[in-house]
């Protein structure tokens, strides 16, 4: 039992017009579906081109043809850009190239050093340790070396966690713990980063004079620095390898610092693209520097006998100096700067010994 309601619409009235428009709209909406059905029926024929009025809009938003910036009341850098097309390129580069290639490079360097050690072994002082030493680094020089070293190691570790953490650490620690580690690494990296700039400036001011290339450097390089083979290769206070590492530290380090500042201080109007560029420069520079520093640490510790002594005690063995820095060692010996091991043990401090030596020489003793 129900009631039927009949509505009569007088022709030409407003209701009749609305009904007619509604029917037309419904027919238009059904057109694509009808076309599709027809295309399925007529096999072999190309489907009719159906224009989607939204396609152009989305093409513009995705910036497929050209960069487009819209207008908005939201104030801020890039606020008029809905989708940053370069962001996708950057993401793909980071995930598909930077992380795998960077990882292989670091891994490769590690394997190379292991192999090198197994084949070459520790480079010994050919004549054995002598009974005399030369003052090599002052307290201040050692202080800033270890300062930059400690900052660098911290930044390298936290940076590697940020870059490689997702593929490497999530499988080990799980997502929850990794998020804690990643957050800690990011905060620590950002906070300690500016200290690297301070350390870099201190190192540059102190060591730049002795790292200017000079006569004898190229011959050192051509003879492989003496590490390949057993021949004696003389050099200055710093050899070509050390000088090149210094300039790499300064130049690549400056790129790392500058790009790092762009990343952690997004307050100078830099947009997303600058940030992406800074990130790429920062990561490539850092991976390069970590790779080189791995070699530096290898030589300084297990790779060469007596190499770390200069930076740990301030003195180096005279025979070691003659073997690796002959030009400098000869000059120092001529100036009477060589000190007996006993005197070194007595005073321990290179600065004290240096001033004491100067006083004794001036007194004619």
């Amino acid at each position: 039992m129900g009631s039927m309601i009949s509505i009569s619409i007088p022709p030409g009235s407003l209701g009749a017009k609305a009904a007619a428009w509604s029917l037309l709209l419904l027919w238009l909406m059904l057109l694509p579906g009808q076309g599709l059905a027809e295309s399925k029926q007529v096999k072999g024929l190309p489907p009719p081109a159906v224009l989607n009025p939204a396609a152009d809009l989305w093409r513009d938003i995705r910036q497929r043809d050209m960069a487009t910036t819209g207008t908005t009341q939201v104030r801020g850098v890039d606020s008029g850009v809905l989708i940053n097309a370069n962001g996708d390129k950057w993401r793909k580069f980071r995930m598909d190239q930077l992380i795998p290639i960077g990882g292989y490079l670091l891994l490769g360097m590690g394997l190379f050093l292991i192999l090198f050690y197994l084949i070459r072994g520790k480079v010994r002082i050919a004549g054995g340790a002598s009974d005399r030493k030369l003052p090599r680094y002052t307290s201040y020089e050692r202080l800033i070396h270890w300062f930059i070293a400690s900052i660098f190691i911290f930044l390298a570790l936290t940076g590697l966690i940020i870059l490689f953490g997702r593929p490497l650490l999530i499988p080990i620690f799980g997502k929850e713990l990794f998020s804690v580690i990643a957050s800690a690494s990011k905060e620590g990296h950002n906070l300690m980063g500016p200290l690297f700039l301070v350390a870099l400036i201190l190192v540059f001011i102190k060591f730049v004079r002795r790292n200017i290339y000079q006569k004898g450097d190229m011959s050192w390089l051509l003879r492989g620095g003496g590490i390949i083979g057993k021949k004696h290769v003389p050099s200055n206070f710093f050899n070509m390898g050390e000088k090149s590492m210094f300039w790499m530290l300064i130049i690549v380090g400056s790129v790392i610092v500058a790009s790092g500042l762009v990343l952690i201080f997004p307050i100078f109007g830099q947009g997303r693209e600058w940030m992406e560029l800074a990130h790429v420069g920062h990561a490539i520079g850092a991976i390069l520097m970590i790779t080189v520093i791995m070699g530096h640490i290898y030589i300084g510790t297990i790779g060469m006998e007596g190499a770390i002594e200069g930076m740990s005690t301030g003195y180096c063995d005279l025979n070691w100096a003659k073997e690796h820095h002959d030009y400098w060692a000869s000059q120092m010996e001529k100036r009477g700067e060589a000190i007996s091991n006993e005197a070194v043990n007595r005073f321990s401090d290179p600065d004290t010994n240096r001033s004491l030596g100067r006083e004794l020489r001036e007194a004619g003793e």
């Binding site: 201040y140 300062f147 957050s183 620590g188």
Partner: protein, 213 residues
Amino acid sequence: MIGQFIDGPLWTFSLAVFVIGVVWRIVTILMAGNRPDLSTPRGSASSGAIRTIFSRSVYERTAATRGRLLQIAGYLFHIGLFALLFFAKPHVDFYAERITGFGWATMPHWAFILSAELAFLGLLLLWIHRLLSPVTRLLSDLDDHLGSILVFLVMLTGCLALAQSFEALRLIHLLLAELLLIYFPFSKLMHTFTFVMSRGYTGATMGRKGVNA
């Protein structure tokens, strides 16, 4: 469970050890008294004490040039740490909630970060120098290194927890701060409170003798 322990009983215990320990150390120093000096004073003990309390904070020109960096590092560390401890917003909020019941003006975020940078810079330079220099290495004992390590770790974990997004990081920072509070009264870190007394005592003794030291 462990978080509740760190946040609750351990915090109360460490604060109690710190307060009682510091008061006890200061009282015992003050109670020790002085031997009566029967000699005729050649100068004012009080002015000597006041002069020395401040003059020891000023760079001594006759000291070696290399001491200048360490003096600067010392200032950077102490000023940075002081600003962090008493004017960093998370710390002031913590004190207001747990100790005082009221807060006070805090530093803007950029000043907070700058203070942390300066404190780290100073501490690292001082600590590395302590390890490298043969003189300071000989003068330093386990207490010096333990104090430096604890302060460094508290600062480091604090900076790692800067995002304030993870409870675990906050708890690690708090745990280390509590260990530092417990260790504090029994260590050379007590110089935070006793430096005025020791300088004043030396200054007064020298002032009475008429020596400008």
